[in-house]
Symmetry: C2
Subunit: 220 residues, 2 copies
């Protein structure tokens, strides 16, 4: 088998399991977000800030993907989330199968929102459907405004792009309009939002977006 | 063949070609640095700042690894580097074979320093020897001080760790001592340096380190 055929087979198998996961999530009546970014863009900080605002309103579960350590799971637990850690043991992305294996350990019946924090990697997780409702890419103002065109796959595959760390804009040579324009060129349907998870800017709008997505899913 | 055996075969083939590359680099009497980091940690900005200081003193070549686009190559060319772009076409790291294929197009005989800017990815490039003299990991203060323990492989495999963007420390919840301590726990032999490629802090020491490495290699 050629390399391309092996990759097609892996993607096809992944898609089959992702569809099964999606049915489990839909049966549980939860909204599921798959969050993808470079290391250090603020995925865990965004989850902490979201939990601080929504943990009393919704039952929130987090599936934490990491190469190693339970550090991020400890952080989100401290902010009121239940959930489970997946360590990939060096692997560079989550797969639908890894998520499938932990689903029996999650109490989806009593949950509202499920956040999947993928492994910190802007390339490899892009094409792995996990069964989520929305695939989201998190950008950071500190990473440079040229990232969308340099890592196009994840922007093609995402329905939501959030630009984090906007509180640092005064100190950075970052053209946020340029970054957002590049996202729109790659994927005109992708929604875009700006936040500072650390300082709170944009977090009300972000939480409203989550409320709206959950309500829309439950309305069928 | 099991997955583990396939991976061992890939690594073994890569190591064979990396040793060939290393002989070509040694015959060319150049010092070669393989720079690895997350997207947006400042690899290209560090190269620009290095070229501004050393391009009149040394003949410098850059091998630019990217998923797509020639943006980084355009940037380093504008600062006085020769070299060549490798687009991986979606691939998440450079391999020794990709580097081997472009070596005939590089004038190593008249070069002093060769910088290989790897694809922006803190996981996948870690174990791919390209034939370099030193594998270096670039950290950014904006990424959080917990990165070494969360992405240990690259810190095990690197001989040099540079912490970039130290000019932003006043605005960040970043404990630089914690990050450096984690690097030392993972790899006590790893050298560590602090810079701001954008503002210039630490760049004199960085350039002296490069001069020393080149002199040591040429002294045999």
């Amino acid at each position: 088998m050629t390399k391309i055929n092996v990759e097609k087979k892996i993607q096809s198998d992944n898609e089959t399991i992702a569809e099964k996961n999606r049915r489990v999530f839909t049966d549980g009546d939860v909204f599921v977000l798959n969050i993808i970014s470079s290391p250090g863009s603020g995925k865990t900080t965004l989850l902490e800030a979201t939990l601080d605002r929504l943990a009393s309103e919704f039952n929130i579960l987090v599936i934490e993907g990491d190469v190693t350590t339970e550090r991020d799971m400890d952080r989100v637990r401290a902010h009121g989330a239940g959930g489970i850690q997946i360590n990939t043991g060096g692997g560079c992305h989550l797969s639908a199968n890894m998520v499938s294996e932990v689903l029996p350990d999650l109490d989806l019946e009593s949950a509202d929102l499920v956040f999947i924090e993928n492994v910190g990697n802007l390339i490899c997780p892009a094409t792995y459907d996990l069964g989520e409702d929305v695939r989201m890419v998190l950008l950071s103002t500190t990473e440079g405004d040229d990232k969308p065109m340099k890592y196009p796959a994840i922007f093609h595959e995402s329905q939501m792009a959030v630009v984090n760390k906007i509180d640092l804009l005064p100190y950075l040579p970052y053209d946020i309009e340029r970054a957002e324009k590049e996202v729109r060129v790659l994927n005109p349907q992708c929604e875009i939002m700006r936040v500072s998870a650390l300082k709170g800017d944009g977090m009300d709008e972000w939480c409203d977006w989550l409320r709206g997505k959950l309500a829309a899913k439950r309305a069928g």
